[in-house]
């Protein structure tokens, strides 16, 4: 299969990249690793006039801490997350999630930020970023814009990123107290999209939950932030009853469709069970003092 013909530019500077986007607007598509865009081009679901390959832009391949955040550049690949000793220390839930992304060969090319911008409701990183309260950093000729991930996903493959903007990185707040997370995914085989998956993150203040983040994968038109479940947890000491109630609320937030991977009812129940298990795991990890 061949993509429809397009013009290709691989700008050497961010200024050149945003100038191209300003000029071409909706007729251009930004490509990082290409693991989502190239399949769309081949199937001709996407037919841009111009592909702007940002793969050769400098200084976007790092994972570093600054100013209370972990900053991940737009060219950081899934495999870079998977092998990052820093992330293992700072946000180990991301390592757990990275193993579930596609397969090892796709992980060698695809990027975290690219996956977020692709906004597939079955994408794993969207839920992880919702649970962690991340912010996307975008650049255009007008300058930098920081976009909270909550609200970024508008619908399947649709975000609030503007046509003249390129996402240059993502910022994740460093947990303040003892914290823990978990990513649980049900998939039929390696490389398949999730039947359902959940990301769970908690931060503790003494015996009480100070912050809770829950993101749901493949059970709606976007990755879903289970806000009611998060609210039910915050300010309370975790008990089995509280966790069960939060899991029930998270399942209520899911809006899955029945398909070959399972009925809608089944997927909702997977969400409930996974959130319950994930919270127990995350709280256990927070107790152990795992970051």
């Amino acid at each position: 299969m061949f993509p429809a013909a397009f013009e290709y530019q691989a700008p050497a500077t961010l200024a050149d990249a945003v100038a191209l986007l300003k000029q071409h607007g909706d007729d251009a598509k930004v490509m990082a690793g290409g693991q989502s865009l190239i399949p769309l081009l081949k199937l001709r679901f996407a037919r841009p006039e111009l592909v702007v390959d940002i793969g050769r832009l400098p200084a976007m391949s790092s994972i570093k801490r600054d100013d209370g955040h972990v900053a991940i550049g737009a060219l950081v690949r899934h495999v870079d997350v998977e092998r990052s000793k820093d992330l293992e220390a700072w946000l180990p839930m991301m390592i757990e999630a990275s193993h579930w992304i596609a397969d090892p060969l796709v992980r060698n090319r695809g990027t975290l930020v690219g996956s977020i911008c692709h906004a597939d409701p079955s994408g794993d990183w969207g839920s992880v970023m919702l649970a962690l309260g991340a912010e996307l950093v975008a650049h255009s000729q007008a300058g930098e814009r920081v976009i909270p991930i909550d609200g970024f996903f508008q619908g399947p493959f649709t975000t609030t990123l503007r046509a003249d903007e390129v996402a240059t990185g993502i910022r994740i707040p460093m947990p303040k107290g003892p914290s823990g997370g978990a990513y649980l995914k049900l998939e039929r085989k390696v490389g398949d999209f999730a039947s359902a998956a959940v990301a769970v993150h908690v931060e503790m203040d003494g015996n009480k939950i100070a912050k809770a983040g829950i993101g749901l994968t493949a059970v709606g038109a976007t990755n879903i932030k289970a806000t009611a479940a998060e609210k039910a947890l915050v300010g309370h000491e975790p008990t089995d009853e509280l966790i069960a109630e939060a899991a029930r609320l998270a399942a209520q937030a899911a809006e899955p469709k029945g398909d070959i991977r399972g009925s809608a009812e089944y997927k909702k129940d997977v969400v409930r069970v996974f959130v319950q298990r994930g919270l127990h795991t995350a709280l256990g990890r927070a107790k152990e003092g795992r970051a």
Binding site: M1, F2, P3, A4, A5, F6, E7, Y8, A10, G34, Q35, I38, P39, L41, K42, V51, D53, G55, V79, A102, D103, P104, L105, V106, N108, R109, V190, G191
Partner: protein
């Protein structure tokens, strides 16, 4: 547009349309047909090649993205006219039936042993999890990679100086 890349150690180039996929550039322009096209949808791994030593699915890479990079295809695995440790492992352990997935499996195995010379069975199974074989049930493929790992380790023990040649392709 013009592209040029190092393919199996030799500088190769061509004048192509931007939409040409790396797998088609290798097969049609360079006539390196050892890289196969299976599913053509990023699922099967028959088109696996190494870019700068890392296995990728060349049906999901534009040739333009590989400009200036170093590519290894199955045609580049031989070392000084002899089978590499991985190739020999597939030969000894009968790691194939129809052979369609074999180039991809061998390239993934080569990259795995370059990073991790002594992988566990589980690590081997995870490494080949993006490559589909419809004949063998994977058992002999796993054995082939284990065979290669052992051969490399034995060669290293006997003669550390020549181990680089046995390791190859790195």
């Amino acid at each position: 547009m013009k592209v040029s890349m190092k393919v199996n150690g030799a500088e190769r180039g061509g004048e192509i349309e931007a939409r040409v996929l790396l797998v088609d550039f290798l097969r049609s322009n360079l006539r390196l047909t050892g890289t196969h096209i299976g599913c053509d949808t990023t699922s099967c791994g028959a088109c696996t090649v190494l870019i700068d030593g890392e296995p990728v699915k060349s049906c999901t890479v534009l040739a333009a993205q590989a400009d200036g990079r170093s590519i290894t295809t199955v045609e580049g695995l031989m070392e000084g006219g002899a089978l590499s440790a991985i190739q020999n492992g597939f030969h000894q352990e009968h790691g194939l039936q129809c052979g369609f997935c074999t180039p991809g499996m061998m390239l993934v195995g080569t990259a795995l042993l370059a990073r991790n010379p002594d992988p566990t069975e589980e690590q081997i199974r995870w490494a080949i999890s993006g490559n589909i074989c419809r004949c063998t049930g994977y058992m002999n493929i796993v054995k082939a990679i284990q065979h290669a790992a052992k051969a490399r380790a034995d060669a290293q023990k006997e003669s550390p100086a020549t181990s680089a040649a046995v390791a190859g392709g790195e």
